[in-house]
Amino acid sequence: MSTTRKLIEALRERLGQADPLPSPPAIPRIQAPPARVFPTARTRSCYAEQAAAHTAAILGIGHVGTRYATDVVLQFQAELAVAHDAVHTVLPDDWAQSQGLLPLKSRVEDHHQFLLRPDLGRRLDEESLERLRGNAIQDVDIQPILADGLSAVATMGSGIRLLETFSNECRFRGWTVGTPMCAKYARVWLQDEIGETVGARVACILLGERPGLGTGDGLSAYMVYEPRMGKTDSDRNMISNIHARGIVPELAGRQLAMMAGAMLDQKTSGVSLDLSGLTAELGQAASGGYREPQRRVRLVETDR
C-alpha cells in the first residue's frame, strides 16, 4: 500500500473521521404518506375510473418510488392466493359419490403427478374403466362428464348446477343422456376414452379451468362428436369462463345443448362445425375460444 495513503488513513482516524459514511441528516418529522389504494368504485383515481370502463387491467394505481403501494400489494397477493388455492385444492375421493355421481379416476396417482403428466390424465385407470363398463348406460346421445381439471374449487362450486342444467336441456330436446359421472385428475382429452367406452354420440367434459389472477372458480366445457381416442383439439368446441361473474351455469347449460344439437345435426365437431346459425344464441362462443373479460373485485377488507 502507498505510503501517502497509509499516512492519510492514520490522520483520518486521529481526526475522528474514520467512519466511511457521513453522519445522517437531522431526524425529520415523518408524515404518513397519502392514501394510495387499489382502485375501487369509491376510491379510484380519475385515470383508473376511465380505464375501468374499457379494461380489467389494474391501472391508475400510482406508485411508491418505483414500487406498489401497500394496499396494492395486499390486493395482488390475495388474487394470487385465490388462484393458487384453486389449483392446489384436490377433489375429495368421496365427493363424486356424495353428489350421486359415478366416480372415475384417470391414471394419475396424485396431484403433483397430475400437473406434470398430462398424458396420464387423458386415460382412465383400470378400476374406473371396469366401473364405467359395468355401471354406465351405454349407447347414449350425450355423455356429460364433470371433472376437476385445474380447479376442483370450480368443480365443487358450480359444477353440479352446470351438469344438471346441461343434462336437463338435453333431455328436454329428446336426447338420451348418459349416467352422471365425475372424473378426478382429468384432462380434457379423457372425454375421448369415456365417450368411446359408453358409445356416446357426443361427449361433453365440464372441468375447472386454469385459474387467472383472482379467479379460481371458472369452468370450461369441451365437446366432441363421436368421441374416440386420437381426436385432437381441432375436433373440439368449447365454452369457457362459466361462473357467477361470467357466463352463469344456467346460460352455459343451454348454450352447450344448442352446440350439441349442431353436432348431432351436422355429424361433426371442431373446426368443421358450422355454428353460424347460432351466433345470436351462443354469442362470442360461436366464434371459438372466447373468454369474457373478468371483472375485478376487491378481495381484501380489514375490520377496524
Binding site: S2, T3, T4, R5, L7, I8, A10, L11, R12, L15, Q17, P20, L21, P22
Partner: protein
C-alpha cells in the same frame, strides 16, 4: 466525508513508436538516444508529476516534457486534455510501454488528491515520495532515492499548511510555488528523512482540513 481519495482519471495514454526528429526535439527529447515517446493526459497534474517520476524508477526512460494547463481540468480544451500533458522518451517502444505501465499503476493506486471538506469542494495533495526517481530529483535538486513531501492545496489553505508543516517536522524547504500556479493552486516541496516527511505531510493535510472548516478566524 473528509480525507477520502479523489482518484485521478487518466484521459489518454498513447505511444509514438518512432517519433519524427522534429517532434522529439520540440518536446525536449534527444534524437541520439530517444526513439519512442509515451504520452499521457490526466485530470490531476500533481498526481501525474509524481507518476512520471515513478516511471523513471521502473524503466530506463526520461521525462522530457510535463506541463500543467492554465486553470486546470475544469477548463480543459477538450475531452482528453485534462490539466497536464506528460511525455516520456525511451530507446524503443517496449521500454516506453514498461514506463507507461508503472505510471498508470501509480495513478491508479497511489498518487491522488484527497477531499478536505464534505463534498470535496476543497482538495489537498499531501503526497510523500519515499524514494525520488530521476525526474523529480533533478527538478528538486536532490538525489535519486531521497525522500520528499510533495504538498499542494488551494492558495490560502496551502499557505497556512506550509507553515504548519515546516513547524511540525524536521524538514527543509526545497522549492516553494506561491500562488497562482497554472492551475491556481500553491505547492511546497520539503525534504528530510522519511518519517519527518511523513510528519510534515500529515500536518499539512490536517491544517488544510482545519482551514476548510474555519475560513474566518482572525480575532
Amino acid at each position: 466525508m473528509i480525507l477520502e481519495a479523489i482518484p485521478p482519471t487518466i484521459l489518454s495514454v498513447r505511444r509514438i513508436h518512432a517519433a519524427h526528429e522534429s517532434v522529439l526535439r520540440s518536446y525536449g527529447a534527444d534524437p541520439s538516444k530517444h526513439t519512442s515517446l509515451g504520452l499521457v493526459t490526466c485530470d490531476q497534474d500533481d498526481s501525474t508529476y509524481v507518476a512520471l517520476d515513478e516511471a523513471t524508477k521502473h524503466a530506463p526512460i526520461d521525462v522530457v516534457f510535463a506541463r500543467s494547463f492554465y486553470a486546470g481540468a475544469n477548463h480543459a480544451s477538450g475531452r482528453l486534455s485534462g490539466e497536464i500533458l506528460g511525455v516520456i522518451a525511451g530507446p524503443d517502444p517496449d521500454t516506453v510501454e514498461e514506463g507507461l505501465m508503472a505510471l498508470v499503476r501509480c495513478l491508479e493506486h497511489d498518487a491522488c488528491f484527497y477531499s478536505a471538506d464534505d463534498g470535496a469542494t476543497i482538495a489537498v495533495f499531501p503526497h510523500v515520495i519515499t524514494s525520488l526517481g530521476y525526474y523529480l530529483s533533478e527538478e528538486a535538486g536532490l538525489q535519486p532515492g531521497d525522500s520528499m513531501a510533495y504538498l499542494v492545496a488551494p492558495p490560502i489553505e496551502a499557505t497556512i499548511a506550509f507553515d504548519a508543516a515546516m513547524k511540525a517536522a524536521d524538514v527543509r524547504l526545497v522549492r516553494a510555488f506561491t500562488p497562482p500556479t497554472q492551475t491556481n493552486y500553491a505547492a511546497a516541496w520539503l525534504t528530510g528523512i522519511l518519517t519527518e516527511c511523513q510528519a510534515a505531510a500529515e500536518a499539512y493535510a490536517e491544517a488544510v482540513v482545519e482551514v476548510a472548516r474555519r475560513p474566518w478566524d482572525f480575532r
